[in-house]
Chain length 463, copies 2
């Protein structure tokens, strides 16, 4: 028998990992609910036709497809048909419906759009939903990149108001404040990027400029300028972009400088206006206690093509942590148009759960009580004392104290070893004297202190 | 464009459904933690080799298999190999590694066993874990049977103590007490069923007797007797079984009568002892407030072959609900032997989440606050009052009140229609007077009452 294992790129989550992840999920859930967002869950499987063609050619290749069941038909006709389909699969990277009609969820956005279209008559618009579920991608696994990973999205569809953008910035700031992760929220607008291409006289090269600018953090301005040149931007264009990049100051100063540079671009002015309006709404909505920073950053690009307005990104601002974006999002138009309902504008943000987890590990900002489950164990020496132990256990649990009993009558050492391995702080020893007096001997594992007290006192100490 | 849909047998969960389901999950999670059980999560995908052969021939057929990616190799050699594999698939119901090496989780038990074996050196035994995750089966969908459904299991491995059985009974009783679902817990032992076959002189027909007895509820004793005859049980055997079935009285009376009938079967006496010991432990552990009943029932069979000791089942005892088992479990030996670690005894129970949900719907026992999310909305009339609305909103949320603003400046009727469709009780109207005075006008949708009050008073009312 070979050693059992899990598929490459997937993970088991141990008790302590589940508790930490639940802490993140619960924190986000509480914030989403505070902001009037509603939970949604969609099936792990979608019809293949729902997913295909939505994520580009590369995306299509990375979708996990599910083999149809019942491939054991024995007729010659069926076999011939199957062989025909099979040869198609061999000649193209193409899965036919005979082989597979279903696939695993690749993100939460497309299932959300599908849901909105299916339920458009029942939903109250603007519809605000959050969704926290795993997605699957047949990517090559590597450090920090998994084939099964969790996405956590909050979106509003059916409203063009920039209050939504401001609310989503608040959700980011509020959530990371709660999680004790210091962050900077970068904000930009796709329209400002488009204007950058316009003022270079090359509006058709907007994506090229975006892609090059996105690397500013990694390769610096000299590197970006070289790439811009390779991508066909004129020298004058590169000079204009450099002007924009070099703008410094606070957000208002930056926006004023951009407005000056982009004064002849209607698109640019529109982009500047939507960012400054978003910030104005944000300032009225934001809690004064949050420590996070909002920073206008014209080099922020966000890869996905479907963004059309304000875009945002969150990075951890602690010096202790080297990590890219831990969240991002933006406004998109017409997502539901893919499924036959055009004209719904949407805006959404995503939390990178696995990266947030890693950042919190590095910063060591988990609440203490997550470390273990039950923090008290009753040892078991059999006979009447075992029964007495059960009665004590019942009283602890009735008082809401998570507690356990060692179920088997075993040697003291074995039971203590178990308690130690589990990381349990308190041990209750139910002996004859304790039973006769109706008391318990409570031992604190970390201090070594032991005292004989009433169950009520015991609940005070361990509860 | 065809209408978008979800795959047959799968479901979207709407906001209100997610909240209700989360309520069940959270209630169970709290109880499991109170009993010292630890959370575990395993990947949706397992290696096919982990799952194959574990669920019988029928089970193997119902496993959802995942198509390997990268089936686009163009070499003749590869094509020839693939054709060869393909013909195997056509002639047998057999999926070869070239096509599929991974499959979707079919239950939570086998992944748990796999996890225990993989982590046996790190785990503290007895290991108590709970797990609440979806599983997938390619069953024919029908009312109440889905292809994606949630299991919720709690198991203890590495302990033979019957305290575990008693704790699991407490978990059932405590959980359903909390959920306000009245239940009866049926208890039996596989050993008593084996003894029944022994005293008929046909120990080899134990499974036949079990299967027939399992139908007692549905077809009555006449029907069961007929089936026993067809399955080859002698007339004398059937008469002896009838004697056992006809035993009435409370649990102690029943067990005493069984002990009398089975006095010559060592297995039977062992089974009776384990049930009565379990009940004795249970009585010391049980909370006096629970209303649920524990009932020894020798006709309880539980389908799965791997049970070897005490078996349990939960049914809803309300007259208002017609529903089969909403949970069940039992003791099994050597589950981890499948993966190379023999000799670990285990006992576990399962909660049928979908059925529990349906029962709670019928009984209408959901807590009131689940009905909606945010229960207050601030209307939006633009301009300075919009900004004032945001400032009020911030104060509500800072006080922990889930609240929203209508993001767009829209007609009064449209905003009220939205609030109504969302089922929101309170509406805040930020007008000029309110803004100037620093107050809010709060309208209760259900009573129609409207008053102008301070934000602090407003928080009191809606919080």
């Amino acid at each position: 028998m070979s050693k059992p294992s899990v598929p490459q790129g997937t993970r088991d989550f141990s008790p302590v990992e589940v508790r930490k992840r639940q802490y993140i999920f619960n924190t986000l859930r509480t914030i989403f609910e505070l902001y009037g967002f509603q939970p949604l869950e969609t099936p792990a499987m979608e019809n293949l036709v729902t997913l295909t063609g939505k994520y580009g050619e590369e995306g299509d290749r990375l979708i996990f497809k599910i083999l149809n069941n019942g491939l054991n038909a024995q007729t010659d006709e069926y076999k011939a048909k199957m062989n025909d389909e099979w040869s198609k699969i061999l000649t193209k990277n193409y899965s036919t419906p005979v082989i597979t009609e279903r696939a695993l969820r690749y993100d939460l956005t497309i299932p959300f759009a599908r849901y909105v279209v299916m339920h458009q008559n029942d939903l109250a618009f603007p519809f605000r939903r959050y969704q926290m579920q795993p997605v699957w991608r047949a990517d090559r696994p590597q450090k920090g990149r998994y084939r099964e990973f969790w996405q956590c999205d909050a979106d509003v569809v059916g409203s063009t108001s920039l209050i939504n953008e401001a609310e989503l910035l608040c959700i980011y700031q509020g959530a990371f404040h709660q999680l004790q992760v210091p962050v900077t929220n970068k904000v930009n607008s796709r329209k400002m990027l488009a204007a950058l291409a316009e003022i270079c006289g090359m509006p058709e090269l907007m994506m090229d400029i975006t892609i090059a600018l996105d690397k500013l953090d990694k390769i610096g301005w000299i590197g970006v300028a070289k790439e811009l040149q390779e991508r066909g931007i004129s020298e004058e264009g590169i000079w204009k972009i450099e002007q924009v990049i070099n703008v410094t100051g606070d957000n208002n100063a930056k926006l004023a400088a951009y407005a000056d540079i982009m004064q002849h671009s209607a698109t640019g002015i529109e982009g500047i206006n939507e960012v400054s309006k978003t910030l104005a709404f944000y300032n009225n909505l934001a809690d004064g206690n949050w420590q996070g920073k909002i920073e206008v950053d014209i080099s922020l690009a966000r890869g996905l093509n479907y963004y059309t307005g304000v875009i945002v990104e969150v990075v951890c601002s602690s010096d202790k942590v080297k990590m890219g974006s831990i969240g991002g999002g933006g406004r998109y138009d017409d997502l539901t148009g893919l499924f036959g309902k055009p004209g719904l504008s949407g805006v959404g943000v995503s939390f990178g759960i696995d990266r947030i987890y890693d950042v919190m590990e590095e910063l060591a900002v988990w609440p203490e009580q997550l470390a273990t489950g039950a923090n008290v164990i009753i040892l078991n020496f059999g006979g009447e004392n075992e029964i007495y132990g059960l009665q004590v256990l019942r009283q602890l649990r009735d008082a809401g104290v998570a507690a356990e009993i060692y179920p088997d009558v075993a040697k003291f050492d074995k039971q203590m070893k178990y308690a130690n391995k589990r990381g349990i702080t308190y041990v209750i020893l139910p002996g004859d004297e304790e039973r006769e007096k109706g008391l318990v001997s409570l031992k604190n594992f970390s201090t070594g202190e032991q005292k004989m007290i009433s169950v009520a006192e015991c609940i005070e100490v361990v509860g």
